[in-house]
């Protein structure tokens, strides 16, 4: 085994999860910072941009994994990207309901 194929597989399988991590850290971290510094106005923009970018990344992972969905690792990669996409959309929805920094 070369380290390459395994590392690549791990990254591919978990990529959806890491997109979710980045999105969640971004929306939480920057909302906290913006609210602490009295910049509530940037929060909706920031969350929207982060969500679109993360959703796009998940869609790209799904597309890349679509070709050979029978292989277990590919399937797992696709499944995790789909789960991440759902979680990203669900977690961003409060933006439509809750005022930032209230």
């Amino acid at each position: 085994m070369r380290p390459g194929p395994f590392a690549t597989t791990v990254l591919r399988v978990t990529s959806g999860g890491f997109v979710w991590v980045l999105h969640f850290a971004t929306i939480y971290g920057f909302t906290a910072l913006a609210c602490a510094r009295g910049a509530a106005g940037v929060v909706p923009w920031l969350v929207t941009i982060a969500t679109l970018a993360a959703a796009g990344a998940c869609a790209a992972i799904l597309f890349a994994a679509w070709k050979d969905a029978r292989a277990f690792e590919r399937w797992l990669s696709k499944g995790l990207a789909a789960a991440a996409l759902l979680a990203i959309l669900l977690e961003s929805m409060p933006l439509l309901l809750v005022p930032p920094c209230a």
Binding site: P3, F6, F24, V43, L80, A83, A84, L90
Partner: protein, 832 residues
Amino acid sequence: MSALPNPAPRPPEELKQLERIWAFPRGWRILTEYNNTFIGALYVATAFVFFLLAGVLALIMRTQLAVPENDLIKPELYNQLFTMHGTVMMFLFAVPAVEAMGVLMLPNMLGARDLPFPRLSAYAYWAYLVGGLVFFCSIFVGLAPTGGWFMNPPLTSARYSPGVNEDMWLLGIGFIEISAIAGAVEIIVGVLRTRAPGMTLGRMPVFAWAMLTFAAMVVFAFPAVILATTLLELERAFTWPFFDATRGGDPLLWQHLFWFFGHPEVYIIFLPAAGMVSMIVPTMVRTPLVGYRLVVLALVATGFLSFGLWVHHMFTTGIPRLSLAFFAAASMAVSVPAGIQVFAWIATLSARKPRLTTPTLFVLGFLFIFVLGGLTGVMLAAVPFDFQAHDTYFVVAHLHYVLVGGMVFPLFGALYYWIPALSRNALSERVGRWVFGLMFVGFNVAFFPMHITGLAGMPRRVHTYAAGYGWDMLNMVSTVGAFVFAAGVALFVVDFARRFRPAGEKAGNVWGAGTLEWLPSGHYSNRSIPIVGSHQPLWDDPELARNVEEGHYYLPGAPTGGREALVTAPLDGKPQYILRMPPPDWTPFVAAVFTAAFFLLLTGKFVVPAVACGVVAIGAMLAWAWALDPAPVAPVDIGGGITVPTYMSGPQSTSWWAVVVLTMVAASMYGAAVFSYLYLWTVAPRTWPDAALLPSVGYPVAAATLVVLASVAFSAAGRALEAGRRGWLLAALASAVVLLVAGVGVEVAAHHALSPRASGYAAMVHLFAAIAGFFAAVCALLTLFCIVRAASGQVDAVRRVSFDNARLFVHYTVAQTLLGLLLVHGFPRMAG
């Protein structure tokens, strides 16, 4: 038969040699045995003892709360009781118990002789045993911690909690976390590198997937709490104000760090238990698990999503509502993968009529209780509801439904299920039904009323309550339920004592299961290592057990003459090399006992004896490591025309993999430190200095140059090693140590004018210098070890594992130190 790797009859002396090599040492030397099956059994038993001890504490509390205005227990002792109950259950029972089940079951389940670092498991176990027992005994002398299992400052700060009680928690539990991480390293590398040939990732038992996810979560979650305990101890001992709001710290930083560990912790406990359920259910229905892929996906998805929930323990701390809503949504999202697993189990149970054995009953009990706990979890994830229920008995009910339902019931089911693989007798089915009945009824009688008690307003952690609030009868019922539950556990203990007999022939596959842990085995695990072609190989090939036992599969003997394991490729499980393991010796045991002594003595501020114990512990570790890189011997034939090497270095060696996992642990701890720095800057920017007051740029430039040169020197040492120039190798290694230490020294000197006590900012700056110093010290130790080995002719171009490991860690340390310099010197200039 022609597909068998070793179809011919095996020589009779081969099995005797295998038995002799793997035989347990006799007398006191049994303490040196490191076989994972042996250590795993002790580990499970010890965790169970802590479950009983913490359960007794709970019964004392329930007795106190049975009637209003009871004066049986004084408030001071009650505080110790609830703190110890929570702490012992979480840190000394739940995490060690599931980790122990992994250490115990995984070698056989994966078809491995042993996992790759059994001495690390032994070290983790003995440190946990000694540390845990001493920690528990603190309650007998009134020195047990009192701040609750999550130890929130400022209650636990030196001002409000003087004395050593809280230090007992910070140092005692902090170091037991190191045990958990050691176990995680073993499990990650073991699951990925010691699976039987043919066991691809897609054919791995669900329990192995659960343990892999568990271990990965430990790697990313536990460092946060280790950092948190370090910061609080630094504040208590040296008044570095990380959590002191009056000096630019923030007590909420503790809650962020603690719950960043503490919420994933719930899933760290639950996922292995879910893995156990996924092993029991197919066996009891005699059909493969419905939705294997979905269940694996649910495990991995839970592993990620559970890191986005920590703030739901902090809904009432004044965080902006939108942020709370992010976490509320994430808390609801994580219930989806849990739901997928529940539906997969129900679907499997519905596929055919299940056998209503004791393990099945515990699985059904688990489903009922855990689903209720999950539903109240979704209720609590709704922020307005949580505002009402926060810190009431509703939360106590919820967390017990989740943890006892989600972990204790599956664990009991798993013990009933797997004991026939470990003991001459299975446990009694008749008694088992009583055990289950008492525990199930007792649990629900104890904890269901607590939902109502909580909604009626009773706060948690009160040592008594006034009559007439409508809580009296509910509390009495809960107390009766707790004792009924305890009666069930006591009955289990009696049955276990009567029937568990680990020596001799095992009861074996009494359930007709299909996975490898049910193959006939000895101390050497399986006689030969099978080829796996499905999820339930024993169901697909009725001859498998016989052929394995007769040595017709891979590695039927011990070709190198010592203990060894077959290392396979992580994706497809192809054989790669033979990992040779030295015979048992005292070093892991001595290292563990003295590590525990080091931390426990520090608790009492006995600095000199503590340092002496620390030196002995490090000495024992070095002696242990000395035996781990034996001289290469000739490749060996394992059967089927496959010849594999008996020595491996570089990225293919399991040792390299362990260092990579260790750097991930270090990186996640560093990440938590970076978060802490940025968090304090966010909440208390007033203590961050203007750029003019920072140390001159020359300091970080000089420090960065020196540490980069240390990396360059190590790379040069690598070239000297390959060229066989020992003199250059030694010189380059020595230069690397000097450069690294000098670089860190410059960084420490840069802040000489800043007292760490001055502010949260100052404490953070010194924390990063201290971390750099600690890592430089570890690198120096590893490099000096390498120098001594090289000087004695035990490192060369082939035999180079010690060198490769040190180099990897040094390069990581240099990268981490550069990031720290950028943060400490660059960020204030950029943000200021």
